[in-house]
Subunit: 340 residues, 2 copies
Amino acid sequence: MEGKKLITIKEIAKILNVSPSTVSRALKGHPSISGITTERVQKIAKENNFVLNKSAIFFNQKRSYTLGLIVPNLSEPFFSTALNAIEKVASAQNYNIMIGQSHDHVETEMTVLQKFIDHRVDGIIVSISKQHKFFQPYTDLEKLNIPVVFFDCVPEDKYLHYVASNLHTGLLKGINALVAQRHFKIALINGPVNLSATRQRLIGYIKGLNEHHIPVRSDLMKTTDLSPAGNIAAMNSLIELSDPPSAIIVFNDNVLLDCFSLIKSKGLVDQFKFISFANQPDWKYYDHKPFGSIEQFPAEQGKIAAEVLMKLINGELHHLQSDHKYYQFNLDSEIIYLND
Amino acid sequence: MEGKKLITIKEIAKILNVSPSTVSRALKGHPSISGITTERVQKIAKENNFVLNKSAIFFNQKRSYTLGLIVPNLSEPFFSTALNAIEKVASAQNYNIMIGQSHDHVETEMTVLQKFIDHRVDGIIVSISKQHKFFQPYTDLEKLNIPVVFFDCVPEDKYLHYVASNLHTGLLKGINALVAQRHFKIALINGPVNLSATRQRLIGYIKGLNEHHIPVRSDLMKTTDLSPAGNIAAMNSLIELSDPPSAIIVFNDNVLLDCFSLIKSKGLVDQFKFISFANQPDWKYYDHKPFGSIEQFPAEQGKIAAEVLMKLINGELHHLQSDHKYYQFNLDSEIIYLND
DNA sequence: GTGAAAGCGCTAACAT
DNA sequence: ATGTTAGCGCTTTCAC
């Protein structure tokens, strides 16, 4: 696969006995080059399959026209949807996307990050891996002059750009709807405690109950490590309560599917109403659906993140208020009713 | 975001009054540099947040250490699974992956391809978009010295490298199993005629019936444009047959889900047995499953494609038989029984 | 309208 | 053990 070398501007110049600069200009139709020369150059270029070595240009311009995207896992629809939106924005500005999956592994995430730095990506969009608290490496990027925008799962820090989803809005509406249907025993199956997503759900849950003057019962609050076994165990402990809930708010769709499996096998399907945070299924094809699903608009998040990043790269983000030098956007979530 | 420029080897050299080559060597711990010099260099480097500009190195070496991956849509689990496998192989050799989704659009695919060429990716892995027959652009890559490996959806041409899945093996086993259960009226809901995937399914279907001396009935052969409406229409036309099938082979899981919707709404769920080509769901969470699912091993395909590509890039593919200069691999599919 | 020269950051061959 | 030189392919002043 080595062999044939691609022809360069210099070589074309030699062939035509003109200077490289002339060729360079002719190639891009610069007005100061005579029509005849331009034609001759372009003819030779075509004949020899000439392709501009953009890699040389990138190097020259100190721009790679590449965005790095780090997400836990692209097989989650949430992220592939976000990717689509990001790709769209990037393409429009002739940017390419380099991807790296962390698989929710901090070390992998750091390896990917290093590779992106090596490649001199012009900017990075990242949804940090769950369990990740230590984001020093990202703030260090400022020294390298690489802008970063976080989305979805964002670190709790004031000194960075991010786009996140505000879970409260959707969750509150969901709780309101449940209460309107006279559900007062509302449980929560939450995720691992060290996730900010978990904390947010918890806060929303408590706030929602408070608004309706429903006392918070600690026996109705469970957590799961997100493994199928963990999910089922959490659900099971709710079922076995002497005073079980009638409605349950679940960390996400994956967890919910396991809950469904359990209650189906126990013949308890109609016993509970569920609200879940959308991250996966196309519920249309399922027989059992949650009562409501809290949508976090991955496409919107991805789009905004990419747009902000592009502006950062292009140095167009002056219009920020001086007192919040960082672009921080909280998109409202929304509840979608799938059942009644 | 402009401001600070990163320090370069030259600058470090100036600071320490040594030559750039010394710095370059010291930075990578070259043995011929004295311990003391090495230390001094590395100290300065650290203090100034020095980062090797790999982009310069890439340019120099004429290698970008980047693979381009073109697929229709990463939100299909089939492709994200393949991506995972490809990423693994690439990472191991310090390669990055640039992705481009064609969304089954030939023009988009060509745009992406051009960008990849611009970026001087070292190699490309592609699952061409459905409907794509015209792959001249890919064979042209040979002139640019960029190796390409196709996978999954491969053009029907002898002069290229590919990894594909041989549908026949799985399909035949599936038909055997159906016949063993005394299903003789086996229908086929196939995809758009211009897809090679469609042709392959058709061939397998006819071959399977022939082996069991089952006459091929043209009224049992339907096609869909893969839209939900098209899927439902195809299924419906089978239902309405005066002599309807008892088993149906379906183009893929997406189509099947629509078929299920229809027969559920008509109360005909137990009327038909289905065999589908796996591309989507985790059936574990569904109440209605197909009888069997033909697995095409995206991870395997991706892995092999990436390995072949890396070998091609590294010029290690001499061991090919001289008479098949192209690496062509047909992975057997397998049927997985989900129901009985 | 065209050319000459310098430089982007780094490496490697060839000195010393 | 370290320095010198040239060069990767292109662009961009600055001349002419």
